[in-house]
Amino acid sequence: MAFSSLNEFFAMGGHAVYVWAAWGVTALLMLVIVWHARQERRQLLNVVKRRARRENAQRNAQPSHAQPLQEPVNSAQKDVHHDA
């Protein structure tokens, strides 16, 4: 151990503000990033599930109906397919 007591550890020899600011912001940012990634995945799964449910309901209600519903996924950009 480089420190002889917990208090000393937190004090960081007078450099507490700097060390904990740097480490704190880093840790916080990484946690936020992970949380956001999980949130994003959950949202997308929900959207896909909703669509699947709706299409199943449609298919069950009208067995002759061949076209699946085209609900756009929440995105500002269009997927246009180019040939070049």
Partner: protein, 246 residues
């Protein structure tokens, strides 16, 4: 092996394969970061010249390494996308950019904070911080350019071109900024410019670097899978998958 790599081009396969790999990297990241943190913060010996503030190195250096590696990975993915038209490559590139920008910010912030006890100032125009700042602008440019087009494919191709142009410039920028500042700042303190660190100082650094890289890979796998869901939402396999996951 080529067959395996070839399989990865299919979003469906990538989704399945990365599902198995992801937990590995999360576990690795958590373990490495935990061990590195405890070792670096509590057990590594105090630095003779800088005191305890040198412990900032354990987040600053890994973040800086990642910031640069991610940009290169992004450019390589962009190249793969442009040349072989592999969409998964573009999805990976899209997902890596924000993390790269975040790591660049972390490197900048921790570097600036480190400067206060070291140089007595909140911002110092030294070669490393300046290069990091420019890298941040490059990241922001790629992200902004990708989103500025109304068609996703055009945005992806434009961002790929910019990433490739940027990656060629990064070593040039680093070299010129470095050269400029060695001219203009004769004998200032360089953050890691000292004689060899002792083993019990750089071992935790290595562990932290590995931890950060594992984190990067785990997060990229996770977000690429989300991106696949987003882009392939109208495919049958995605619908069936959603129905499976309760």
């Amino acid at each position: 092996m080529w067959a395996f790599i070839n399989k990865l081009r299919s979003p469906k396969w990538f989704y399945a394969i990365s599902a198995k790999l992801q937990p590995l990297f999360w576990v690795a990241a958590t373990l490495l970061l935990l061990v590195g943190t405890v070792w670096g913060l509590a057990f590594a010996p105090v630095d003779y010249q800088q005191g305890n503030s040198f412990r900032i190195i354990y987040v600053h250096v890994p973040a800086a390494f990642l910031a640069q590696s991610i940009f290169v990975s992004m450019a390589v993915s962009g190249l793969v996308f442009m040349v072989w038209k592999i969409k998964v490559a573009d999805m990976v590139a899209t997902v890596m950019a924000p993390l790269g920008a975040a790591m660049t910010f972390v490197a900048l912030f921790s570097g600036a904070v480190w400067g206060v006890p070291t140089w007595g100032t909140w911002w110092m125009w030294d070669a490393r911080l300046t290069s990091m700042l420019i890298l941040l602008f490059l990241y922001l440019g790629v992200i902004a350019l990708r989103g500025a087009f109304s068609s996703r494919d055009s945005g992806s191709r434009a961002a790929s071109v910019l990433a490739m142009v940027g990656v060629i410039n990064i070593p040039i920028i680093k070299y010129s900024v470095d050269w400029w500042y060695t001219l203009h700042q004769p004998a200032t303190f360089t953050i890691t410019g000292r004689a060899a660190m002792t083993m019990d100082m750089w071992a935790p650094l290595l562990i932290m670097v590995l931890g950060f890289y594992s984190f990067f890979i785990a997060l990229t796998l996770m977000r690429t899978r989300s991106e696949i869901l987003r882009r392939e939402a109208n495919k049958r396999w995605v619908r069936e998958l959603a129905e499976e996951t309760n």
